[in-house]
């Protein structure tokens, strides 16, 4: 796979604070890559570094194998879609979209046809002569996209592209964005703090926190096998507990936690005996019933059903375990919850060894 954008130990300080700290990343040609993290995690700064609107203090940035560290933004083959679109208020939709081509000195005819095609692609052909303040939020966003895409950049950078849109519009724009990316075969790098967006849109994503990249992978890898507590906690819902590795045997290891039976997990490569670890199980991987189900699951923990929250397509069951932990179990409403279950009842939480995960520990839970 050809590498399109490569960051090599890039750092950027804003005064005394570190916005981006020694970030190394490789983004492949034609992929939809997301930078996911809470606000202040340095993802927007990273985007501005790639666009050339900021320059790194340390490290190298390559676009298509060319070092671009000192290249001004107008000389880079990338275009940025700004968070609040930054459409030029004194120009029509047509002139906004044509701006990049005009700066490049394209001929009038070429501009006419390229802008026309682009507006058609984002379904705005009837609005070419409108001004930005006459457009709805969704239309403004499509203009911002068109203005970037019409230049056929090697990389399209998107800064929180959905942040200013309402929920319904957001769904439509997800599909729109994915369609455009596939039609143009362009590399998209998208900054977002919304995990569902990142999981749905991305081919791969990087989870960021405090200016560093915590983990890079496909949405499935990130969700199923987070490599740190921070990633597991940030992405989706999880149940955690700290414990000690007591025994290892081939692919299997056992974790002990005071008050619980020994718990069986697949052994991570890094695991060492008597190491303190955090175990993690996603709520939809847990099975809940009054009695242990036969054939037996690898792990069975007794507990008390505390409350049941109906949530449309699924039901969330909160179970208090013997060690003062409360875990949540997600039961799909396609299979009815055993009707005998009700709050206050003794239940058993059970799962297979392969459905849990072991993380290096940083916190005590």
């Amino acid at each position: 796979m050809e590498i399109c954008v490569k960051l090599d130990r890039v750092s950027k300080h804003h005064g005394a604070t570190v916005a981006v700290d020694q970030v190394s990343l490789e983004v492949r040609r034609g992929e939809f890559f997301s930078l996911l993290g809470p606000s202040g995690s340095g993802k927007t700064t990273l985007l501005r570094l790639i666009a050339g609107l900021d320059y790194p203090d340390k490290g190298q940035i390559y676009i298509q194998q060319t070092l671009v560290n000192a290249l001004p933004p107008d000389k880079r083959p990338v275009n940025l879609v700004f968070q609040h679109y930054a459409l030029f208020p004194h120009l029509t939709v047509f002139d906004n979209v044509a701006f990049g081509l005009k700066m490049r000195g394209e001929s009038r005819g070429k501009i006419q046809s390229a802008v026309g095609n682009m507006l058609e692609m984002v379904r705005l052909q009837g609005k070419a002569q409108r001004f930005p303040n006459e457009l709805s939020g969704g239309e403004q966003q499509r203009v911002a996209l068109a203005r970037a895409l019409v230049n056929e950049p090697v990389v399209v950078l998107l800064d929180e592209p959905m942040a200013a849109l309402d929920q319904e519009l957001r769904q439509n724009m997800h599909e729109e964005l994915k369609r455009l990316q596939q039609e143009l075969q362009a590399t998209f790098i998208c900054v977002t703090h919304q995990q569902d967006e990142a999981l749905m849109l991305s081919d791969r994503l990087a989870v960021m926190s405090g200016g560093s990249v915590l983990q890079v992978g496909t949405p499935q890898e990130i969700y199923r096998s987070p490599q740190s507590f921070a990633v597991a906690k940030f992405i989706g819902l999880s149940n955690f507990a700290t414990g000690t590795v007591v025994r290892m045997e081939n692919e299997i290891c056992w974790v002990h936690r005071e008050g619980l039976p020994p718990l069986k997990f697949l052994r991570p490569v890094s695991a060492r005996a008597s190491e303190l670890v955090t175990i993690m199980i996603r709520p939809e991987r847990l099975v809940l019933d009054a009695e242990p189900i036969r054939p037996a699951y690898d792990n069975v923990i007794p507990g008390t059903l505390e409350k049941i929250v109906f949530n449309g397509g699924e039901t969330l069951c909160y179970v208090r375990l013997p060690t003062d932990l409360t875990w949540v179990i997600r039961v799909s409403n396609t299979t009815a919850l055993p009707s005998s279950l009700c709050a206050g009842q003794r239940v058993h939480v059970q799962w297979q060894a392969a459905d849990g995960g072991i993380l290096p520990t940083h916190v005590s839970l």
Partner: protein, 265 residues
């Protein structure tokens, strides 16, 4: 909105009346069919007729317009440049520069007039159009800079980022983004400085030379031989032009300001 106390309404009305009654009286008397100033003898346009058939008046008007146009144009060119330079600057001297810029607007005009006269004499620049235009720039330039900077501060810096990202160099950004977005402020500043220049008396009085009599100077010289209704007519015209200029400046800024702030939200 809560109702204002009656006292406030009446006192506001009194202030407005106090400000405008003299001007109204002047305008009304300019239509008076009488040689004597204060006695109403019927409606007439004869003073306006007399005015426009007075070649000295036309000469003074041409001088005034020429001086106002050139000093406004100069202030605009240098003012916009200075404003952009100052807004992009975060130097330690900036507060002092800012203070220095508004000083000419608060220093008594008569001092400025004397100072300018002394300077021109020292530099041996003959008094006339050039000195009046330079003199007017002393207040036109700070006015322009203040107005342009106020507008610059409202512009979203990401517009510049967006333009740079789309391939514009610094010059392109200035030409295609900054200047068009500054246009309302530029028109507003131009209308205002044009009006102020047209009306200026004190500085002009000191730095004018032979053959460069402006309208206010003309009015002043006519008054020396008694206040005739012809002066009333001339003054009424000056008032009208000033109101149009200042009103136009305000209106234009309001209207175009709205477009930009709307697209920001």
């Amino acid at each position: 909105m809560s109702r204002l106390p009656r006292v406030l309404i009446w006192s506001s009305a009194a202030v407005v009346l106090f400000l405008y009654i003299p001007i109204l009286v002047l305008i009304v008397l300019s239509f008076n069919d009488s040689h004597m100033g204060a006695v109403w003898k019927g409606f007439s346009l004869r003073w306006y007729d007399k005015l426009i058939h007075n070649p000295a008046f036309f000469e003074a008007m041409l001088n005034s317009v020429l001086i106002a146009a050139v000093s406004t144009g100069m202030s605009l060119i240098f003012g916009v440049g200075a404003a952009i330079g100052l807004e992009g600057n975060r130097g330690r001297l900036l507060p002092f520069i800012n203070m220095g810029l508004v000083l000419p607007l608060v220093i008594p005009e008569i001092l400025l007039g004397v100072a300018l006269l002394m300077m021109f004499v020292l530099l041996q620049i003959p008094l006339g159009f050039v000195t009046i235009i330079l003199g007017h720039s002393v207040f036109s330039l700070p006015l322009t800079i203040v107005m342009i900077r106020a507008r610059l501060r409202k512009l979203d810096p990401t517009w510049e980022d967006a333009a740079r990202d789309l391939g514009a160099n610094s010059w392109d950004v200035l030409r295609h983004i900054t200047l068009p977005l500054l246009k309302p402020a530029m028109v507003g500043a131009a209308l205002l400085t044009f009006t102020v220049s047209l009306d200026d008396f004190v500085i002009t009085f000191f730095v004018a030379g032979p053959g460069s009599t402006t309208l206010p100077l003309k009015v002043f010289s006519m008054i020396k031989t008694g206040v005739t209704p012809e002066i009333n007519a001339l003054s009424a015209l000056l008032v009208l032009v000033s109101i149009l200029g200042v009103g136009g400046s305000w209106f234009y800024q309001q209207r175009s300001g709205r477009v930009v702030t709307q697209s920001l939200s």
